[in-house]
Symmetry: C2
């Protein structure tokens, strides 16, 4: 399944960290790309840094025209899911959505244009209380991928060995590079 995330309405002065978290969830859970309306160098840097150190081929594409991207996606046979607390409840539509090959997930920051509600194949509510587009994206992708997103291994870059106490991290070479020391301890928190 091919998944891309479309982040619309990003306001650099206000949404920097939230949009970064949207992008990091998208990458960590297996989306191939985040499309962003507007451009924010700090987000490009944060996400680029994580992608470089932790592996995978995740891309951030800035300054997109969201209507054009959404329409092109649909013209090419993809489906568009818009996450909004006003939409159909997640459990009632997820089985149907899971049957699709190509899914664009739209998550809004500020007020989302009415046109998005019409353009979307599904408007999906992750609960009916206000909370967070980061949480909504994570839960939607979790239900979509049935928990498999928590087992993703990009096959390169830093790798955590789960442990009940402390931190164990293996530093693997990027694809095509020579192997470095197999084990190291990483002290900092990564996000």
């Amino acid at each position: 399944m091919q998944i891309v995330v479309l982040r619309i309405g990003h306001r650099p002065e206000r949404d920097k960290r939230i949009t970064t978290h949207v992008g990091l969830v998208a990458r960590a859970f297996g989306a191939k790309e985040m499309l962003l309306t507007g451009r924010d160098p700090s987000i490009e840097e944060s996400i680029g840094d994580v992608a470089e150190r932790w592996g995978g081929g995740f891309k951030l594409r800035s300054d997109v025209a969201w209507r054009d991207e959404a329409r092109r996606w649909k013209d090419l046979g993809g489906k568009l899911v818009h996450l909004t607390m006003y939409g159909s409840n997640l459990p009632s539509v997820i089985d149907e959505i899971r049957g699709c090959d190509k899914i664009m997930i739209a998550v809004g920051a500020e007020k989302v244009p009415a046109e998005m509600y019409d353009l979307a194949d599904w408007n999906v509510a992750v609960g009916n209380q206000p909370h967070s587009e980061v949480a909504a994206l994570a839960l939607f992708m979790d239900r979509l991928l049935e928990g498999k997103e928590l087992e993703i291994d990009f096959g390169e870059g830093l790798k955590i060995i789960p442990t009940p106490r402390g931190k164990t991290v293996i530093d693997r070479p990027a694809r095509g590079e020579q192997s470095s020391e197999p084990c190291s301890e990483e002290k900092g928190k990564e996000t």
Copy 2:
């Protein structure tokens, strides 16, 4: 099950929106309280505003001493779960955690003190890639509550009627107030 969220390491200049989203997820998914190290009037205002309009008894308690709160919680028979990408994988421990009556969920912003890893009954990883404490909290609570958190109705305040297109919101009176008009349309996006 009684759930509280402990947010540590909040930096007002950097974490304002992320900590707000942590609090909104905590409330929306049924935690009774968020404890915050430090104080941030903008977070108090954002979360207070949502709680007032959307109902429920969620509280934000600021300026807590996290070690004291965590120890007191454990002394009173509660369990402490620390969400960290370095911990035990969520699926391998969630059944055991689900057996507890009282759970404090700790989510860090900046680097978390080593003491937290030792004090926690479980250090739990929601995937082993860097992403977001908002996403980690949402997914942890979802697995803990087995999806029931998406059905929460606080019995007062604004209520969304899920709909495939557009927005339908009912405005209900707070408990103890006279009923107002049963139906209205809310245009703005709420988070």
